[in-house]
Structure formats: C-alpha cells, structure tokens
Symmetry: C2
Subunit: 114 residues, 2 copies
C-alpha cells in the first residue's frame, strides 16, 4: 500500500499517531504529506509536514530529538498512520517526553456507568 | 481547561487518539466536536463526531463495543486529545481489536541510520 492509496484530509495530509516503541507511551500527533512520508521511508526517521510553518519538518534537526522509525501501520479506512519510534530525548518542545502531559479528566469506576 | 480553550481544526473538530488502558495499544483515531466532548464527560463513555455520517457517534450503540473513559489528556498546543479507555470487544468495525492492523513498514536496526 502506497501513499497514493491513503485517504487524505482537505489539506492533502494524513495524521500520524506517534508511539514510543520502548514503553508504548503515546508521544504526539503530527501530519505527513507525500514528500514527508517518502522522506521518512528513505531516511528511517520521522519527517512531518509542519502545518504552522508550511514546510517539511525533519523531527530533531533543531532539537536533536530525532525519532527513528520502528514500524508504520495504516488503519482500517486508510486515513491515519500509527508510527512506533525510538525517541531520542523528548518528543515535546516543552521538554516533556510526551506532548500529552496535561490531564483533563480522570475517571474512577466508570466501567459500571451506562 | 475547557473545550472552548482547545484549538480546533477547520471543521471545528479536535482529533482524539484512543489508547487501550489495559495494554497501551493504540486503538483508533476519531474526532470530537463540543457536543461530543460534553456528552463523553457526562456519560463516561466515548462519544465522537462522525465525519462521514455528519452526526454524533456514541461508540458502541450499534456494535455493543462501548469505550469507557479512564482519562483524557490534552497535548501541548491543545489541538489533540489522548483518551485512555476500557474497550469492550473490538474498537474496529472489522472485528480487529485495533484499527491499526495493517503494517506498512517494519524497520530493523534503524537506530543507527542517519
């Protein structure tokens, strides 16, 4: 399955869920266009499309916090990629290992709710 | 932090990465609007906005494969939610536990690549 088989959003991008291959922590969500995807495969490290800067974002070029690809999976409707990576340093620009460091809600005993 | 503080996409939606609280498997990516988010908090089970059907999607209503909320986290730039859930049955409509059941790429020794 190639990039041209993926179902892209209105911007021609596909979201990528990034998971730490060492401990299964979800690190971040980013986006790829075709060039970012192909560069990722060629280089074996994660390359994204930066929506804010409007340019290719070779993760770690500035920070040193490179992400080496372990595997890429595509979901059932081919509109999301799951990447398992070896994360050097921190995924988040704030210095946190994961971008998801702020808890909104913590439920207890929610299993029994209807 | 409330839904109105989140950074929504052009459609007024926020993506939600859904992770199995039992084994840390990434199950799916879905989207919420404000109503879906508020219903999720009220009911303690995941309610999404279906982009294809254009309506609220109370996960499990048809399939029985309900997702009970364990926690919700927001990322650094407040444009993605991470949900940890108790998954009843399978997250994917294909019957797979996770929607990410198709491998695109498997790397070996990619750590040493530059």
């Amino acid at each position: 399955m190639n990039f041209d088989d993926f179902k892209l959003d209105e911007r021609g991008l596909i979201p990528v869920v990034v998971q730490d291959d060492e401990n299964d922590q979800v690190l971040m969500l980013a986006y790829m266009n075709k060039e970012a995807y192909e560069r990722t495969l060629e280089e074996g490290r994660m390359v994204y499309w930066s929506r804010s800067r409007g340019e290719l974002w070779r993760k770690g070029d500035t920070s040193g916090h490179v992400q080496y690809v372990r595997s890429l999976d595509i979901d059932c409707d081919a509109d999301t990629i799951l990447a398992r990576v070896i994360q050097v340093g921190a995924a988040c620009h704030t210095g946190h290992r994961s971008c998801f460091y702020r808890r909104l809600v913590q439920m207890d005993g929610s299993e029994s709710k209807k």
